[in-house]
C-alpha cells in the first residue's frame, strides 16, 4: 500500500493524472516520487508536493490523507486497484475510469466519475456538479460503473448518461439526468427542478420532494416498488411519469407519492 500526504496547503490547481494504482504498480518509492505532476503552470515531481510512504502489503491500493480539494484528475482512466481518500478531493476524480474502486471520506469537486465506463466510486460526503456527466459540450456521458454518494450532489447529475447507476442518499440539485439515454439515477431525498429534462430513456427515482415535473412528461400510473439495482428496491408508492416528449423520449421518472401530495392533481389523468 502506498500512502500520500500533501506537504502543504495547495494554492494552485494540481493536475495529478499520475495518482493511479496502475501507474504506481511495480515502481519503487523513488520512481513514484519522480512522477510528473503539474502545479499551476509548473511541472513538478510528485515528491515535491506529497510525502510518500510505502509498505509491502498490497501494491494496488493508494491511500491519500489530507485536504486535496485542489488536486484534479486523480485516478483518471484507472482499470483496477483502489484509491482511498481521507479528506476532500478535487475535480475530475476518476474521469474515464474503467474499473477498480475509489472511496472518498469527504467531499468531492465537480465532474467526479465523468465519462466513466466501469468501476465504483463511493463518496461519503457531498459531491459537486456534473457527477458522472461528460466534459462540457460532449454528449458522451457515463457508460457503465457505479457511483454512490451518501451526501448531497449538485446540478446536472448523470447528464447524457448511457449506462450504469448513480445512487444518491441525500438530495440532488437541478437537472438530474439531463439528456440521459439509459441507466439509473436514484435520489433518496429531494430533487431540484427539471429532473430528467430532455431524457430519452433510463430511469430516475426521486424518494423525496420534487416541486414539479416538467410539462413535457405524462403520467403513466403508480407503482408500489421500484428496482434500483440487483437486490435493492425502493418502496413507494411512486407516481410514474414518461418523457421527455419534447425529445420523443421514453424515460421514466418515479416520484414518491407520499412526499409529494401536490402532484396528486395528476391522478385525474389516470
Amino acid at each position: 500500500m502506498i500512502t500520500l500526504y500533501p506537504l502543504k496547503e495547495f494554492q494552485h490547481p494540481i493536475i495529478a493524472e499520475c495518482i493511479n494504482p496502475e501507474v504506481f504498480q511495480g515502481k519503487t518509492i523513488q520512481e513514484i516520487g519522480a512522477l510528473k505532476i503539474w502545479e499551476g503552470n509548473k511541472q513538478k515531481k510528485l515528491e515535491e508536493l506529497f510525502k510518500i510512504e510505502k509498505d509491502e502489503t498490497d501494491n494496488l491500493t493508494i491511500t491519500i490523507r489530507g485536504n486535496i480539494s485542489k488536486v484534479r484528475r486523480i485516478g483518471t482512466g484507472m482499470e483496477n486497484g483502489e484509491i482511498i481518500i481521507h479528506g476532500d478531493a478535487g475535480m475530475h476524480l476518476g474521469e474515464e475510469m474503467k474499473g477498480g474502486k475509489i472511496t472518498v471520506h469527504g467531499n468531492v469537486g465537480s465532474w467526479a466519475g465523468s465519462m466513466m465506463k466501469g468501476g465504483t466510486i463511493e463518496i461519503h460526503g457531498n459531491a459537486s456538479d456534473y457527477l458522472g456527466a461528460p466534459y462540457r459540450g460532449s454528449s458522451e456521458g457515463m457508460r457503465g460503473g457505479k457511483i454512490v454518494v451518501y451526501g448531497n450532489v449538485g446540478n446536472e447529475t448523470g447528464a447524457h448518461m448511457r449506462k450504469g447507476i448513480i445512487k444518491i442518499y441525500g438530495s440532488a440539485g437541478q437537472f438530474a439526468g439531463f439528456r440521459m439515454r439509459k441507466g439509473t439515477i436514484y435520489i433518496q431525498k429531494d430533487a431540484g427542478n427539471r429532473v430528467g429534462a430532455c431524457m430519452t430513456g433510463g430511469k430516475i427515482i426521486v424518494g423525496g420532494f420534487l416541486e414539479s415535473v416538467l410539462p413535457t412528461f405524462t403520467i403513466e400510473g403508480t407503482k408500489g416498488k421500484v428496482k434500483i439495482e440487483e437486490g435493492e428496491k425502493a418502496t413507494g408508492p411512486f407516481y410514474l411519469f414518461i418523457g421527455d416528449h419534447a425529445e420523443k423520449g421514453n424515460g421514466k421518472i418515479y416520484v414518491s407519492k407520499e412526499k409529494n401530495p401536490h402532484l396528486s392533481c395528476y391522478e385525474k389523468f389516470l
Binding site: 461528460p134 459540450g137 460532449s138
Partner: protein
C-alpha cells in the same frame, strides 16, 4: 538569406520535373538559378523528396463560422492541445484548431498556401483578423456571392456587366480572392424556410433559377478575368441522388468555357456524388461523375474526402445543415447572414461501421482514382467537414497504395464493402501525381503564378519529405509514406526554413492575397446603394469595406477586368 537544397528527388509537375535528382537554389525568398555556394546554407536532401510547398484549395480555417464552431465544441479541444514552446504559441482543437495551431500544423505537413473558402462578406473583418493570426502560410479567402441580393437583382435584370462591377467592388471591399457559390438560390430560399431541389427551381421573390445564378456568375468571372474559376458547392449537397445535380451544374456552363480552360470548380465533390433514392439505397455516383469529367476539360474539382473520426461540419448551406441536424440529433447552429448567405454547424462522427459513412469514404477515393487527369481533382477533406486536414497523409497513403485501401476496407461496414468500387480499381498514384493533386494542380487552378512550382522566379515555398522514391515502394510501404508526409523533414516558407524534422523552428507570418480587380469604370456608389445598405444591412456602407491596413501583410494581385 541563401539556401541550397542538394540532391533531392524533385517533383515539380508544373515544370514537368518527375523525380529527377537536382539542386534547388533560393535567394531572398525566391527560387533562383544559382547561389554563392560558399555563403548559402546547404540542406542535404539526398534520399528525400523535394516538392513545392503544399496548396490547399478549400479548408475552413477562419471566420465567424469557424469560430462559432470552436465555441460550440469545447469537447473538441480538451483532448487535443499543444503547449507553448519558445517558438510557438499554445493552442487547442482537433477538428477546429485555434488559428495559430492551424498554421503550425499545416507547416508541419509541408503546406504553405491555404484558401479559406467561405466568407460571408459581412463577416469579412472577422475572417481577416483570424487570417492575420494564422502564421506560417500564405492565405486567401473567397467571399460568398451566390445569394447576395445585389447579384440576384442584377442577374434578374440580366445586366451582367453591372453585376460584374458590383462583384468586383465586393471582392476588393472584402479582400477576397474568388467567387464562392454555395447552394445557389437555396440559401435565399432558406430565408423563407424552403430550399431549391434542382437547377431550375425558382428562387423566391427574385424569380431566377440556380442555373441562371451559376451561369451569370460564370460570365461575371470571365468578364473580370479572375485567376480562379467560380468555386461551386452544388445544390442538393448531401442528398441521395445528387450526382445528377452535380453533373447538371457542370454541364450548364459547358458552353461558357473557352480554349479548354476550366470554367467551374466543383468543390468537395464527394458530398455531391451520391446515387440512390434514399439513405438505404445509397450508392456511389463517382463513376458517372468521373466519366463526365474525363470527357470534359472545363471542370476542376476537389475530393472532400471523409475520414473516420469525430469532426465538425460547417457550411454556408443552411438548409443542408438543418437536414444534418435532423439526421444526427446533435447540437447545431444555424445562421442567416442578412442579405448575403446563411450558415450552419453540426458536430458529426463518421463511423466505419455505418453504411452511409463508409460509402462516402469510398466515393471520395473512387473520384480521385477514376478521374484520370490528376490536374482536375485535388486532395482535400473540405476541412473540417470530411475530417480535419491533419488526415492528409492518410489520404495520400490510400491513393498511393491499394494495400492501404484494402486494410481500411477490411474494417468498414460489410454492405458498403461489397458495393464499393475500390476493390476493382488497381490504380496507384505516383509521387508525381500526388504532387499534382496536393500543390501543382491546386496552384494552377487558383491561378497562383508564384506558387505550386519550383521554377526560377517562383516563391521559395518548398517541402522536403524524408522518403526515398528509389528504395521505398509506396504501394507496399504505405505506412512509411504516411509518416513522411505527416512530418516534413523541412518546410521552407518564403526562403526561410520554418520546419525541421516535423518541428517548428521558426515562426513566420504569411501574406493575405486578395484581388484588386480594376474595372474600366468603377462601380457607382450611388445614394441608392447607400440607402440599401441602410435598409437591408445592420452595417452602414461606410463601415462595410475592409481597408487594406486591416491586413497584416497585404498582397494585392492586380487583375484587369474587361468591363
Amino acid at each position: 538569406m541563401e539556401l541550397l537544397i542538394r540532391n533531392g528527388f524533385v517533383y515539380d509537375p508544373i515544370n514537368g520535373v518527375n523525380g529527377e535528382k537536382m539542386d534547388i537554389a533560393v535567394k531572398d525568398g525566391k527560387i533562383v538559378e544559382k547561389v554563392n555556394e560558399n555563403k548559402a546554407r546547404e540542406i542535404d536532401a539526398s534520399g528525400m523528396i523535394v516538392m513545392p510547398g503544399g496548396v490547399d484549395i478549400h479548408c475552413h480555417i477562419a471566420g465567424s463560422e469557424v469560430n462559432t464552431g470552436r465555441l460550440l465544441r469545447p469537447e473538441d479541444h480538451f483532448r487535443d492541445f499543444e503547449r507553448k514552446t519558445s517558438i510557438t504559441r499554445s493552442g487547442v482543437g482537433y477538428s477546429i484548431p485555434s488559428t495559430f495551431t492551424t498554421g503550425y500544423r499545416y507547416a508541419r505537413m509541408g503546406y504553405t498556401t491555404i484558401m479559406n473558402p467561405s466568407m460571408p462578406p459581412l463577416e469579412a473583418k472577422h475572417t481577416h483578423e483570424e487570417l492575420n493570426d494564422t502564421p506560417m502560410v500564405d492565405k486567401a479567402t473567397y467571399p460568398l456571392l451566390g445569394d447576395w441580393w445585389f447579384v440576384l437583382e442584377y442577374l434578374k435584370n440580366a445586366s451582367i456587366e453591372e453585376c460584374a462591377r458590383y462583384v468586383a467592388w465586393m471582392i476588393a471591399s472584402t479582400k477576397g480572392y474568388a467567387i464562392k457559390i454555395v447552394n445557389p438560390g437555396g440559401l435565399e430560399a432558406w430565408g423563407f424556410g424552403h430550399n431549391v431541389a434542382s437547377l431550375d427551381d425558382q428562387v423566391p421573390y427574385f424569380g431566377i433559377t440556380p442555373r441562371e445564378i451559376v451561369r451569370g456568375l460564370c460570365k461575371v468571372n470571365k468578364l473580370l478575368n479572375l485567376p480562379h474559376t467560380i468555386h461551386v458547392h452544388t445544390n442538393n449537397l448531401g442528398k441521395p441522388g445528387n450526382y445528377k445535380t452535380a453533373i447538371e451544374t457542370m454541364r450548364c456552363v459547358e458552353d461558357l468555357a473557352a480554349e479548354n480552360k476550366p470554367a467551374i470548380h466543383i468543390t468537395h465533390c464527394q458530398f455531391c456524388a451520391f446515387k440512390g433514392d434514399d439513405w438505404r439505397t445509397l450508392e456511389s455516383g463517382a463513376e458517372d461523375i468521373a466519366n463526365y469529367v474525363n470527357a470534359h476539360s472545363h471542370v476542376t474539382m476537389d475530393m472532400g474526402q471523409v475520414i473516420f473520426t469525430d469532426t465538425t461540419t460547417m457550411t454556408a448551406d443552411g438548409p443542408f445543415q438543418y437536414t444534418l441536424y435532423e439526421l444526427s440529433g446533435n447540437k447545431w447552429v444555424n445562421h442567416d447572414v442578412e442579405t448575403e448567405t446563411s450558415a450552419g454547424i453540426v458536430p458529426f462522427r463518421y463511423r466505419r461501421k455505418s453504411y452511409v459513412h463508409a460509402v462516402q469514404w469510398s466515393i471520395g477515393l473512387e473520384l480521385a482514382l477514376l478521374i484520370k487527369d490528376s490536374w482536375k481533382i485535388f486532395m482535400t477533406t473540405d476541412h473540417p467537414n470530411g475530417g480535419p486536414f491533419i488526415a492528409y497523409p492518410k489520404i495520400i497513403a490510400w491513393l498511393m497504395s491499394k494495400k492501404a485501401r484494402e486494410a481500411t476496407l477490411e474494417k468498414i461496414s460489410s454492405k458498403a464493402r461489397s458495393r464499393s468500387l475500390l476493390p476493382s480499381i488497381d490504380r496507384e498514384l505516383s509521387f508525381y501525381e500526388i504532387a499534382t493533386m496536393t500543390r501543382a494542380g491546386q496552384a494552377k487552378a487558383l491561378g497562383l503564378k508564384g506558387k505550386g512550382h519550383l521554377g526560377v522566379g517562383a516563391d521559395a515555398d518548398i517541402a522536403i519529405y524524408d522518403v526515398n522514391p528509389e528504395t521505398v515502394d509506396p504501394s507496399r510501404k504505405y505506412k512509411r509514406v504516411r509518416r513522411a508526409f505527416k512530418r516534413a523533414a523541412y518546410t521552407i516558407k518564403g526562403g526561410k526554413v520554418v520546419v525541421e524534422n516535423g518541428e517548428i523552428v521558426q515562426s513566420v507570418k504569411g501574406a493575405t492575397m486578395w484581388l484588386d480587380v480594376q474595372t474600366s469604370e468603377p462601380v457607382k456608389i450611388s445614394d441608392d446603394m447607400k440607402r440599401r445598405f441602410r435598409e437591408y444591412w445592420t452595417v452602414e456602407y461606410e463601415n462595410y469595406p475592409v481597408t487594406e491596413h486591416y491586413l497584416e501583410i497585404s498582397h494585392p494581385i492586380k487583375v484587369k477586368a474587361s468591363v
